[in-house]
């Protein structure tokens, strides 16, 4: 889990993954964890994967582009 969290953080999806072991007897803990994580996610905003519309290529290319291959 720590590994996956670190990897997601590296590519810009940090803080959106959480794992917690909760027993069926720990109702309070369940409420607390879900409430906290929900609050955290609300601050982060909608998942960027869902809203991603492809790369934003600038309309007017800066002058550095003149006479040069774009390069990918």
């Amino acid at each position: 889990m720590s590994f996956l969290q670190a990897l997601l953080d590296f590519m810009g999806l940090g803080g959106r993954l959480h794992l917690e072991w909760i027993s069926s007897a720990e109702a309070r803990k369940f409420v607390q964890v879900v409430t906290e994580f929900t609050a955290k996610i609300k601050v982060l905003g909608p998942n960027p994967i869902k809203g991603w519309q492809g790369p934003e290529i600038p309309d007017s290319l800066p002058s550095i582009f003149e006479g040069r291959a774009l390069g990918v």
């Binding site: 810009g12 940090g14 960027p48 290529i57 290319l61 774009l70 390069g71």
Partner: protein, 268 residues
């Protein structure tokens, strides 16, 4: 006749090895080639080659069908690290492998070398503006905000044409069934690629295995900074598990099999 030819011939003649995997120039291009006792004069055509192929992956393939065969391999540092990983994962038997060490890639650790992996060309302006520069160190790719990171990595991943070149060239990719061909996860042959699942699945599978040879990035037709991504994977693995694939002996922390696997039912 050079030293390398002498050694390989001697090994073949003394039956120290049955097969040597090296390079031979075919139509002007160095290609991986098998050298055998039956065709021993061909050893004179053996070259070191600046081009790199995962020779140890070929050896593992041979081992899977001919486990009794003793194999010699031309090995740079990266080949050696990959061999260590393949030993750890039981894909090769170290008893059956002999290596001839040769000079290696230029890197911060080793300046004088003659292999193909030189520092990549600096990125063009568009990539610099909205993508990820291949030559960055993992720390340098973390200067961007979370939002910026996601946009930049998505730009890189979106270029993927699902050629599976990164997986096919990878010396430590040996699974019989690949998650990247699992229909519940990935739609084969359909573009655009699943962002970011496709590349993250591969990245996760590289943990505890990737030996930073850079062949994946060499092979990538879309110039995706895969080596950078897997270097970060390696750093996380080192930080969390204190494990460095290819140099540390012992089972990978990501192995679910443990040291002694048997198919015997456990006593209750």
């Amino acid at each position: 006749m050079n030293m390398m030819h002498e050694i390989v011939k001697e090994w073949l003649e003394q039956e120290k090895i049955d097969l040597f995997i090296g390079y031979k120039v075919v139509d002007g291009h160095p290609l991986p080639c098998f050298f055998t006792r039956e065709n021993i004069d061909d050893v004179d055509n053996l070259v070191e080659s600046k081009a790199r192929y995962p020779l140890e992956k070929i050896a593992a393939k041979v081992y899977s069908t001919h486990p009794e065969m003793k194999i010699g391999i031309l090995a740079r540092d990266c080949n050696q690290r990959a061999l260590n990983v393949l030993y750890v994962w039981n894909q090769l038997d170290p008893e059956k492998i002999e290596t001839v060490g040769i000079n290696c890639c230029p890197s911060p650790a080793r300046e004088h070398a003659d292999c193909s992996y030189l520092e990549r060309e600096p990125s063009g302006p568009l990539k610099t503006l909205i993508g990820i520069e291949n030559n960055l160190k993992p720390e340098q790719a973390e200067v961007y905000s979370q939002e910026e990171r996601f946009k930049r990595w998505s730009y890189e991943f979106e270029k993927c044409i699902k050629c599976y070149g990164c997986r096919n060239i990878c010396p430590v990719c040996f699974c019989k069934e690949c998650s990247l061909e699992h229909s519940d996860l990935i739609k084969k042959g359909e573009l655009p690629v699943e962002i970011p699942i496709f590349h993250l699945v591969r990245a996760v599978h590289m943990a505890g295995r990737c030996i930073d040879c850079g062949l994946c990035e060499d092979a990538c037709p879309a110039n995706i900074p895969l080596r950078l991504l897997y270097r970060e994977v390696n750093q996380i693995t080192a930080r969390l598990f204190d494990y460095r694939a290819g140099t540390d002996s012992g089972q990978s922390p990501f192995s679910i099999l443990g040291e002694n696997v048997t198919l015997e039912p456990m006593s209750l």
